[in-house]
């Protein structure tokens, strides 16, 4: 918005001084549309979360994300919740812009209230939540105003496990192991090796161990990660999101690596 009344309604071509107001007043943001600053079509993620991991196991879905929200390379917020329950059967976990994710949380909360208020005996399950999110994300990307996130949707309803992905482009897919961000490159191969073909035999303790080891590897290698994280478990019993927990890490091996420890030569 151009706040200078003198420049309102004046000829676009400043070479013409129809009103004889010499010297010609210089308009700010010359050459730009007056209202262009009022519409922001595109953006970039500002406060960001890193990887989210999720796997299928015998009784349902297990998902994990750390508690860090970074501001560039600054570890800005160290107690952010990136796993969010949607109703009784679903958890969503997000990487990317945390502002956009919290906006999505508020939309999902409102949606669940509306659905509850209908009192029609139906509850939205993970498949419906994922479909809703995919249409939301796709609609926003089509407006060239995306919600800058990669989201995992995990759930359990009517004896069925559900695990799927949706991102800022509206791209969706499903698999027995999923990971976003760096996790897709670092943790996904580990998860696939541990889980593929054993989805129906892994118990909760084994699943938790797999998730924990993968989070550990991510913490060692992903510079935007934190050793404080949460695990969500979604089974027939419903949703359980754990308290924040610490990763067991050991750095003693660094002594032996040239360039890491305190070497004398």
């Amino acid at each position: 918005m151009d706040h200078f009344p003198l420049s309102w309604g004046r000829p676009r071509n400043d070479a013409v001084d129809a009103y004889g107001t010499f010297p010609i007043q210089q308009r700010p943001n010359h050459g730009q549309d007056t209202f262009s600053s009022g519409i922001q079509h595109t953006q970039q993620p500002i406060v960001t979360g890193t990887s989210v991991l999720a796997i299928k196991f015998k009784d349902g879905i297990m998902m994990a994300a750390d508690n860090l929200a970074s501001y560039g390379s600054l570890a800005r917020f160290r107690d952010i919740k990136r796993l969010h329950a949607v109703g009784e059967h679903t958890v969503i976990g997000a990487g990317g812009d945390m502002g956009d994710f919290q906006y999505i949380q508020s939309i999902m909360d409102e949606l669940m209230i509306d659905e509850f208020a209908a009192q029609d005996g139906h509850a939205l399950g993970p498949a419906e939540v994922h479909n809703y999110l995919s249409e939301l994300m796709y609609a926003r990307r089509s407006k060239m105003d995306p919600l800058w996130n990669a989201i995992l949707v995990g759930g359990f309803k009517d004896g069925q496990r559900f695990l799927a992905f949706v991102d800022l482009l509206g791209t969706t897919y499903s698999a027995s192991t999923l990971a976003t961000g760096y996790g897709a490159h670092i943790a996904q191969p580990l998860l696939r090796r541990a889980v593929e073909g054993r989805e129906d035999t892994l118990d909760a303790a084994e699943a938790e161990k797999i998730i924990e080891q993968s989070m550990q590897v991510l913490f060692y290698r992903d510079a935007r990660s934190l050793d404080k994280y949460q695990i969500a478990t979604i089974t027939a019993e419903g949703v359980k999101i754990s308290e924040s927990r610490k990763l067991e890490t050991s750095w003693s091996f660094a002594e032996g690596i040239r360039g890491y420890g305190a070497q004398t030569q």
């Binding site: 943001n29 010359h30 953006q43 990307r141 089509s142 060239m144 992905f165 791209t171 698999a175 490159h185």
Partner: protein
């Protein structure tokens, strides 16, 4: 004093790219009284495999199958919208839309987005009202034609010339006094489809994991040896119309 208009230096803004490419390949071949529509099931972005099973071939009606390839989000949304239009047609006319009408519908829907296109190559296969097998292929903005065969997607340049040779008999001279067949038998077509995908899997990194082959048989036609194929399941919903089958096979996962 001179007054010169100096444009303000604007901060550089990285433009958001609303498109992506998700790899994979699709292929369709029309026979005299059948149509075969196939696609691999790998979905990838760059060098990462997102999933080993994401269908690209979709049943639209009892006699129409649509395969989509390119940007997966656009593809899925496009199929969703086509299905919605077909349902409205059913409610209005109490019958399924004929194949050639679906083809024209798809061209209209694609061209409607001429200036923000669905980044998708479509191939429509099925049975025409006259009982003949048909394949229609489209570009992202709706140019389309009816053909006997078409490959699209990541490995289309590997597969299409092979099909020219094996389906259209290009560069082959028939023995004196004979002609090349206009349509191939179903079993032969299925072998060519499987060979095409194993070849594409071998030489293209974005193709592999799984293969889904849809077969639509015209009303009243025989199984033509289809029942002997491994991994076959029937999707037919009525017992007096076209029959539809799907064959699921594994492809190499590396």
């Amino acid at each position: 004093m001179q007054h010169v208009a100096v444009p303000h230096a604007q901060p550089q803004q990285r433009q958001f790219n609303p498109y992506s490419e998700n790899g994979g390949t699709i292929l369709a071949i029309a026979g005299a009284n059948f149509s075969v529509i196939a696609g691999d099931t790998r979905q990838s972005e760059g060098y990462s495999i997102q999933t080993r099973y994401a269908p690209k071939v979709f049943r639209l009606t009892d006699k129409a199958v649509l395969a989509t390839n390119g940007f997966a989000a656009d593809g899925n949304m496009f199929v969703k919208k086509v299905r919605q239009r077909l349902e409205w047609y059913r409610h209005a006319h109490a019958k399924d839309m004929p194949l050639r009408a679906i083809a024209r519908l798809i061209q209209t829907m694609l061209y409607a987005r001429r200036f923000f296109p669905y980044y998708v190559y479509n191939i429509l296969g099925g049975i025409e009202e006259d009982g003949s097998g048909a394949v229609y292929s489209f570009d992202p903005v709706g140019s389309y034609e009816r053909e006997a065969c078409r490959a699209a997607g990541a490995a289309s340049s590997l597969v299409q010339p092979f099909l020219d040779n094996q389906i259209y008999f290009k560069n082959q001279t028939p023995a004196p006094g004979t002609t090349h067949p206009a349509h191939l038998p179903l079993s032969h077509v299925l072998s060519l489809v499987i060979d095409s995908f194993t070849s594409a899997t071998e030489r293209h990194i974005e193709v592999g994991d799984g293969l889904e082959i849809y077969v639509v048989l015209a009303k009243g036609s025989a199984l033509q040896g289809l029942d002997a194929i491994q991994g076959l399941s029937e999707l037919t919903t009525t017992d007096d119309g076209e029959r539809m089958f799907v064959i699921r096979r594994n492809l190499k996962r590396d």
